[in-house]
Subunit: 174 residues, 2 copies
DNA sequence: TATTGTTATACTCTATAACTATA
DNA sequence: TATAGTTATAGAGTATAACAATA
């Protein structure tokens, strides 16, 4: 297959250089903050920006240390707090489609953190059960949440944190 | 390649059925809400749950109608509000790595929504400029934000919305 | 016929290393 | 030697359709 250039040449040729010398690349003057324009009123934008912070915190405090992805962490904590649950309920709680949940459970089962038990009352259904290893890993990872959240203490007061979570729950609508 | 079963058989055989009849599958009793346990204090969990709502709203109001992805929308609105910007600044503002930004700009440039202009003062650098088509699409998509946000009116008061955005900005830390 | 869960698959999103060109 | 941007590539995340087993 012939390779085609994906990008047209820039429209300003290099010859169009300004004569005047300019600030060096190691600049001391900070960039002015960008105007958000319409974005400043778009809740989803701010949610996404906040997620950059929370995802980064998660990776450092829990993802890396315990080898867990965000959804895996949530799923395990739900099992710890509620006891065995069906894939269906887990999928609803975590907004996961069936196929993706299947693969997720496969990974956690391969690590011996949980197992699938067939429902005694409905042969189509399963109960997802934490193994002993799953329980202890989840407990440890759960305790790592506290220091993670404490990282926000210099950005949010305790009252602000509570208020923020309450407002996010209203947006989530459940 | 021989196909190997990815999943071990369930450990409870079908014979282990309870004798007592049980609620039919078309159940009228709603599932009890799950306990969040540790998750109730994990800000990132609530941010992710709220994002399910905002992403869904975005898809219906802007993503589908205008053929824009979330980051594309944000990027275009930043250009509309600030005029030409370098890829570097766009990447910083939107938390995009260089390679991903390059592909993103390729797509938008292929749609003739923006173009790359070489900086007159630094041959390494570029200015990303909205085309006329890009400007008008962005303007239209920008106006669609208002009705989208109004969908939240039954979940958040005006004051709550403002408070929420303010708190999310603190979390984002910029 | 409807529901639970699975398989196969593809597309989007994000991350990393190596490279080009300019400075 | 450092910076801006690109290329190539792989991995994670998410979506859809078709299927099996059970109800």
């Amino acid at each position: 297959m012939p390779t085609m250039p994906r990008r047209a040449p820039l429209d300003q040729p290099p010859e169009a250089r300004a004569a005047m010398p300019v600030a060096p690349s190691t600049r001391r003057t900070a960039d002015q903050p960008l105007s958000l324009g319409v974005l400043s009123d778009v809740l989803g934008y701010h949610v996404a920006q906040a997620a950059v912070t929370t995802v980064d915190m998660f990776e450092r405090h829990i993802g890396q240390p315990y080898g867990l992805r965000k959804v895996e962490y949530s799923l395990l904590l739900l099992l710890l707090a509620n006891g065995p649950l069906t894939p269906k309920r887990l999928g609803q709680a975590l907004a996961l489609s069936g196929p993706n949940l299947t693969l997720l459970l496969d990974r956690l089962q391969d690590r011996d953190l949980l197992r699938r038990e067939r429902s005694a009352t409905d042969g189509r259904s399963q109960n997802i059960v934490l193994t002993e290893a799953g329980r202890s890993l989840t407990q440890a990872a759960g305790e790592a949440a506290a220091p993670m959240e404490r990282e926000l203490d210099d950005r949010l007061s305790r009252a602000e944190r509570l208020m923020l979570i309450e407002l996010l729950r209203k947006v989530a609508g459940r």
